[in-house]
Symmetry: C2
Subunit: 358 residues, 2 copies
């Protein structure tokens, strides 16, 4: 992996990555002049027992791009600069212009609940300079590079003082609120272990203490043995619809042997994980013969503190559609009570995904 | 409150409620003949530590209603019967035709994670026989009756063996996946305390044990004292944007004195709560001059077991829009990590809602 670190005129950072040596033609630019205004803060939700982030400057964006302007493609000396320089590279990562978490955060209002500056970092990951590409359509070596990049970002972010948890994710499709079709994801570096990974960690730790084994590796072993919900299987990686899927066509994928984070991911495993990911995403797009919108999130061990042998790096992919024209809505029972109701059996979802040629 | 219990030909129950004596013209009917097929089951999510409900018969519905058919209006002897009889009543409650939780549930597959029949009950609450009405537009006495009905349902459902928690909610608007515009809500009677109320109960119980006081009543007292986020205030009820709001324009409302559930709600408090609710919903619809889609959920104490003096009956309303034309999407950080990022300060949301004449 090759990389090139650059600074932007507004102080943000950008790194270009490539499987071949990386070059940048001209400086890194920024779409808008000046800073983005106020800094984000956190408030404690006293009944849910979790932090909520407030980034009021995001709503007040004065940045009004022209129609069809794409800030994620390389600049071409047009009047409106983009986030990426021209040059030779495969993947780019830069600081989000409107972050919900920021190392610059320093203000928090006084309230009758605890509040804090929202330290941390939000990064944008541009999967490729090619606006017409899709993640599933990228060459395997390019997807493997992307996973390697996520390891590099995790290692870098882990060195920043307030960061306790690094989550890379991709929101895909306008159904998920994505306004830019250019293939990209995000990384949130949280100053705490967020509620969902915190709950998972609690189960993983309890299981490891009791049985001395990694919970998810065990569950994957059972899924592999049963085979009923397996979508893709290799010696080192597995993709499956979990028996406990909350979304129709939900898929999990990860290494089959213990691997706590992207930082611990070995090349052979990474290559197979890239193939598993590519296969699942191609199946999604062919399932209903349209690009499948989804949230894809990577879970890994918290950073620093201690080793987390009980944690298992894995992706959870939550697709938006339950049939070719019906969205899976999150409403009363899911949003307010937290009990998911799934109309599709995991076994049926798995059979249908397995049957799609990809 | 007057009521009339009826049975449907397919075995489901329906109750008609009114402020005046209730009459039904002709029998209660059912839109589809025969039963709805398989029964729902629960599977244990080993990493999130929660149950997931599977209702595969919901996706396979053979019931294909004609266009513009409204099963929630009173039957008029047309060829396709609806769920409601003709007659004189204000509110109707009946068993959901495709329940995610059912007293008839008896099958659960054998899996490598725990599974159970999904006992419990799902009810539909028709707010009024008038298809053109809205909850906000109903007379105060009608809204107060609706709250009384929720108390009656809570008491009835609490007597059913497996039920541990009763949550009434309304999903409003096609943005929330609602296919029927006829004003209605739902009640889920869970065989366990679901994840969100469970987390809240934990905080409430800890606070009560330490301080001997009801946590939410205290927080509401602070909100009332500050006044900055108050939307509507009376002697007995309060509506406010909580300092910890996760959604733009999120509003909570409830009694100001301790009241654990709908069953403990006194008439004077109920009447004021109805006024608070009506006021907030009218403000929502006028905020952007369009019907505001939302999820409105009522939290209350678990049923049976013991008294829950630490619990406070209250509604949380989660609107779908953050500006007049921008939806609040739940994506990576909210869905996968569980950290909500809110672009709007609660103080600003409260000021804007307070300024709307309703």
């Amino acid at each position: 992996m090759h990389f090139l670190d650059l600074g932007k005129p507004d102080g943000r950072r950008i790194t270009l990555y490539g499987n071949e040596p990386v070059t940048s033609v001209g400086p890194a630019r920024a779409p808008a002049a000046g800073s983005s205004g106020g800094t984000p803060h956190l408030r404690w939700h006293p009944l849910r027992d979790e932090w909520v982030a407030y980034a009021p400057h995001r709503q007040d964006r004065t940045f009004l791009p022209p129609a069809r302007y794409n800030p994620l493609r390389p600049s071409d000396n047009a009047s409106m600069p983009t986030e990426l320089p021209e040059g030779r590279y495969d993947v780019a990562v830069f600081d989000n212009l409107f972050p919900a978490l920021s190392p610059a955060a320093q203000d928090a209002p006084e309230l009758h609940v605890p509040s804090l500056p929202a330290r941390g970092r939000c990064e944008v990951v541009v999967f490729t300079p090619d606006s017409e590409a899709t993640l599933a359509g990228l060459p395997l070596a390019h997807i493997a590079l992307l996973l390697e990049v996520l390891g590099d970002r995790t290692a870098r972010l882990a060195r920043e003082k307030p960061v306790r948890y690094v989550m890379p994710f991709e929101n895909r499709g306008i159904e998920m609120g994505v306004t830019l079709p250019h293939p990209h994801g995000q990384i949130y570096a949280y100053p705490f272990v967020p509620p969902v990974p915190r709950r998972m960690l609690k189960r993983e730790t309890a299981h490891f203490r009791r049985h001395g084994r990694n919970l998810l590796v065990e569950l994957m072993q059972r899924e592999a043995e049963s085979g009923r919900r397996v979508i893709w299987s290799g010696d080192r990686a597995l993709a499956f619809v979990p028996a406990w899927a909350r979304y129709p066509f939900e898929v999990w994928l990860g290494p089959r042997q213990p691997c706590a984070s992207f930082c611990a991911l070995e090349r052979e495993v990474r290559d197979e994980l890239a193939l598993a990911l590519k296969t699942v995403l191609r199946k999604y797009d062919r399932l209903f013969d349209r690009p499948m919108p989804y949230v894809l999130a990577w879970y890994q061990a918290p950073v620093r503190g201690r080793a987390y042998p009980e944690c298992q790096l894995h992706a959870e992919i939550l697709p938006a559609y339950r049939t070719s024209d019906k969205l899976k809505y999150l409403a009363g029972t899911e949003v307010a009570a937290g009990m998911f109701a799934n109309d599709m059996l995991p076994e049926e979802a798995a059979a249908r995904l397995a049957a799609v040629v990809a």
